[in-house]
Structure formats: structure tokens, C-alpha cells
Amino acid sequence: MTSKYPGILRRWRPRVAAVLSVLALITSIVTAATTETVFFYNPESSVDNFAALKAEFDDYLSAQGAYSFQPFSERGAFETMLADKAQGVYLLSSWHYTQLNAKTPLEARLVGVAKGELQQRKILSSKDLGSVSALPGATIAGAGSEDYLRSQLQQMLGAEYAALLPKIKLLSVPKDLDALMAVGFGVATAAISSESSLAKLAVINPKQHAQLKTLASGEKSFFLIAAVAKPQQGAEMPLLKVIETMQQQPAGGKNLKMLGLDGWKRIDTLDASLTKQLRLP
């Protein structure tokens, strides 16, 4: 490109660049301060749907205010964001919430609801094994991160069978139904899934379902949690309200379904026995 005033342009170029950089920095700071974000990470699912979640939630949230959605596929990145106490609402699994709360205080405000339930139970199903004592050498399929699956298995096996854990291979698959069907066609010896996923299999593939038997089951745990960083600033309240009322609008309801939920329930309306499970430590 040629210019009528090459000398002037060359002399001013660094200054213009510096001014533009400062402007960009100011813009990003202002945006960060005024845009609240919903941060999402769920180690209980391996469905790579982050692009779809981002598009659908951004669409919905931006219509409600200066809000955006940020899904994470890596636990470390999500926890770094939390450690920096980024302004916003955190959607995370109750298993992760309980683990995180020891080091990064969070306060759960909403709990997910699916088919009228607040909690789910994970179970271990197999076609060929008669009991958990036969697990050494087995491959167990399940949805979610390996950390999560190993912890679920540990809980299900208890102290009596804890020694079996190192002798088991885990296969992380995108969703519960994949894990259950992997047992059906022999890729896995057993599957970790929720009870409700096993019930879904009964509807879509009754023959495979009939071949499975439950070897062990875990304790009930909450569905997704919506939490804010402690100490609470109060600035998150409008965004929390937007999330709480999502189910009242068709687009919001559809987005909740993408998270496996039908709606939210406020923690302060739950029975004390349930609330106790979440107010940690």
C-alpha cells in the first residue's frame, strides 16, 4: 500500500498502536466488570456439546441482560477461574461442589430438578458378573471424568472391596446410555450409570435392559448445583434470578434439558436434612 504521507504515518504508527492497545484494555476491563458470566463444568458427563451449550445459552442469556455462558471441558481451567473469584454464577456437579468447597468456598443457591427429583443414585450394572467380587480384570464403562468414575466406584464398593479398584480398567464414554449399551455388546463388563438411565434403557432397548443386573449402588447425590463464590457480593442476584426462572420460558426450558434438567429449586426452600448435605464444610 502506498501513502501520500509515508513519513507521518511511520512516525505516528507506534503511538496509534499504543492508544489502540490502551483502548482495547479499557474495553475488556469494562466488559468484564459489566458482563456477568455463567461458568459451567460437569465431570459427570463426557458429552462434548460445549459449542451447542455456548450458542444456546448465550442466545438466551444475552436476551435477559449483559450475561454470557462459559462452559469448561477442563477441570483445572474451571477451578482457576473460581480461584480468581470471577464474577458470576457457577454451575457444577454436586460431587465437584462438595470437593471444591474445602479449598474454594462456594455457596449453593439452586439445585437442579429432573422429573420432580432433586437427587439421583448411581448404580453398577453387569450382564455376566454375579457379584462385585468378580470385578478384577473387568472394564467398567461410565460417563464422566476418570476421577469422578473412580470415586463413584470406590463409594459403591466400600471398604470391603476397596482392594479391587486398582485391578479394574475404566472406560469413559460420553453418556450413561453408551455405558449401558457397551455392556450389552461386550465392550465393557459393567457400567456405572444413574438409575434413571437404566430406566431409559428399559424403554428404548428392553432386551438389553433385561440382561443387566445391579451389582452395587451408591448414595444419592444432587443434580447440578448453581452456586456463587463466597463471600457473596450480592451482584450475582439478578443473574441467579434469570437462571432460576429459565424453565418458565420455552427457550430457557430447552436449554435446561441440554443440562439434563427440568428446572431449579432454591436451596433455602429445601428440608434442613437436605440442605445440610450442601453447606460444607
Binding site: T139, L171, P174, K175, L177, D178, M258
Partner: protein, 309 residues
């Protein structure tokens, strides 16, 4: 003999650490047909994440980048890996050609049955099981019970016989239409579309002969307001309503578990495994145009959701 028996527990104790040390020092060669292909890269990354804690060393070889396949022969001779993991058809062919008696594991090989396999060959297939494919169709589109399929008996007779049984077990009705030179698609497409709720497009080279045929199928389906269910995202541009394919990272993790079993000399029941994970693309926009509902409770299983914007 009695003394030997008495020694057995000690042998067992000492043999195990030896086996695990051998596994920890195992050298694995990954032969990738083309690193620039995203699916190959994904499967390799997932394999490495799962395998790295258990392997001594992982060596990479990219067939495209290397240019000369003979370099692989030299690498195998120099490094003498304990296992070769090949990604894609080209890599698999070269690995079996130069690998000698080394165990060769494959994935991302389309229609692996067309290759001759030796006793040291293992793999993860590229296609989901029929049972999973049809179960997930039933899960996402539960109201569509009559499934139409067009096939050429020269290519797909066996697969359709399996599908017939699977559909019976799942409570679905399979409406079949064969085509060949004497019975071209044009004569039968409209008749089939009138009788079905959803068209299941399978990977049959006799049916998907060319682009014009594919367009004809999709245009006809759209005119009859019938959604198309198929196996590859490549058909989304034509207007497929639902695609269920194998999940690529899961294939990499499966391959890693198989590699461990091979290195530990564990008995392997299935030398070629069916992919365990599924990847779902739902075209909600297209279904809306066809006035067909989908199961909203299945949305958390969907990887890609296409809406009308």
C-alpha cells in the same frame, strides 16, 4: 515337585512386578495416516492421555508428513516398538506391511473387514453396532416407528438381516426397499417414502453411488415430509435430521485399554471392538420444518444441536 509347588507363591509375587515394569517401559509407536485430519488427531490425543501413565515411551509417525513410507520401515527396525497403534487405513496398511510380528492395533479404519488380518492384529471399528444405532434413533425420535431403508443386496444383505432382527427386538418396523440395476431408485423412492415415518440412510455404496443420487433421496424425503436418519455429519448439508456416529475420543480410549491388555498379555475376547461411545447431531430446524417432534429429554445426550436462526 513339592518344592516347586512351595515356590509358586513367591514366583507369583515376584512375577507381577516384572510384568508391570515391562508394561511401564513399553515402547509404543503411533502411526497416523494424516495429522491434519481432526478426527485422527482427536483419537490420537485421547489414546495418549489414557496411555501415557502406563507407557515408557510413545513415538509419533505421520505418514503424510514423512512423505516416504519406507521411513516407517526403518523406524520400526531401529526402535523395535512393543506395539504399533495405527490411525486410519493408510497407517494400518503400512503398519501391517512393516510391523512383522509386532502387535498392530488400529482405529479410524473405514470398513476394516476389507483388509486381511493376522493373529497379531487388533482394533476398534469405525461403525457403531446396529443395536446402538437403532436404540438411539428410538431414543431421540420415539414417535417414528416405521423405518424405511434402501439397500443394494450385493452390499448390505447381511446388515439388513441383522437390522430386521434388531428392529423386531426394539419394537420398530423395518420397511425395506432393495435397489439394483434392474430396480433403480427412481422407481421405488416415492413408494417407500409413502409407507414410512423416517428414512434410514445406511453406508451402502450401491445406493450412495453419486452426489445426484444423494440429492434425489434428500429432495424426495423433504417433499414427503420424512426426516432422514443417517451415520455421518457429511449429510447435514443435504438436510439430514439426525446423525448418530461413533464418538472419536472414546475410540482412542478404547484403543488405549486394548493396548494395555495386549501389553499385559491379558486374554482379549473381541480382537476388534465395536465403538462404545456415540456422537449425536440433531437438526432441530429441519425437524421443525417437517413438523416432527423429538424427545426433549434426550437433549443432554446431543453433541450438536442445529436450530433455525
Amino acid at each position: 515337585m513339592t518344592k516347586l509347588l512351595a515356590l509358586l507363591p513367591f514366583l507369583a509375587v515376584f512375577c507381577c512386578p516384572i510384568a508391570s515394569t515391562a508394561q511401564a517401559q513399553a515402547k509404543i509407536l503411533i502411526v497416523n495416516s494424516d495429522n491434519t485430519v481432526q478426527k485422527y488427531q482427536q483419537v490420537k490425543d485421547a489414546f495418549k492421555v489414557q496411555m501415557t501413565p502406563h507407557a515408557g515411551r510413545i513415538i509419533d509417525f505421520d505418514v503424510q508428513q514423512a512423505g516416504q513410507p519406507e521411513l516407517l520401515e526403518k523406524l520400526i527396525k531401529d526402535e523395535s516398538p512393543d506395539l504399533i497403534y495405527s490411525i486410519g487405513s493408510q497407517a494400518y496398511q503400512l503398519a501391517t506391511q512393516f510391523g512383522g510380528s509386532k502387535p498392530v492395533l488400529f482405529s479410524s479404519v473405514i470398513n476394516w473387514q476389507r483388509f486381511q488380518r493376522g493373529g497379531n492384529s487388533y482394533g476398534v471399528a469405525n461403525e457403531l453396532s446396529l443395536s446402538q444405532e437403532l436404540s438411539l434413533l428410538r431414543y431421540v425420535l420415539p414417535n417414528l416407528q416405521r423405518i424405511g431403508v434402501i439397500y443394494d443386496p450385493h452390499f448390505s444383505a447381511e446388515r439388513i438381516a441383522d437390522a430386521r432382527n434388531q428392529c423386531r427386538e426394539l419394537g420398530l418396523t423395518l420397511v425395506e426397499q432393495t435397489i439394483d440395476e434392474d430396480h433403480p431408485l427412481e422407481q421405488h423412492l416415492d413408494g417407500l417414502l409413502d409407507k414410512i415415518d423416517v428414512l434410514w440412510l445406511i453406508a451402502d455404496p450401491g445406493v450412495l453411488a453419486d452426489r445426484a443420487t444423494v440429492e434425489k433421496i434428500f429432495t424426495g424425503s423433504s417433499e414427503h415430509k420424512k426426516p432422514v436418519y443417517t451415520y455421518s455429519d457429511a449429510f447435514m448439508n443435504y438436510g439430514a435430521s439426525l446423525v448418530v456416529a461413533a464418538d472419536t475420543p472414546t475410540m482412542g480410549r478404547q484403543a488405549a485399554n486394548m493396548a494395555l491388555a495386549i501389553l499385559q498379555r491379558e486374554p482379549i475376547k473381541e480382537t476388534v471392538q465395536t465403538p462404545a461411545g456415540s456422537h449425536i447431531t440433531l437438526n432441530a430446524c429441519q425437524l421443525g420444518k417437517l413438523k416432527k417432534d423429538y424427545n426433549a429429554d434426550a437433549l443432554d445426550a446431543v453433541n450438536q444441536l442445529l436450530e433455525c436462526h
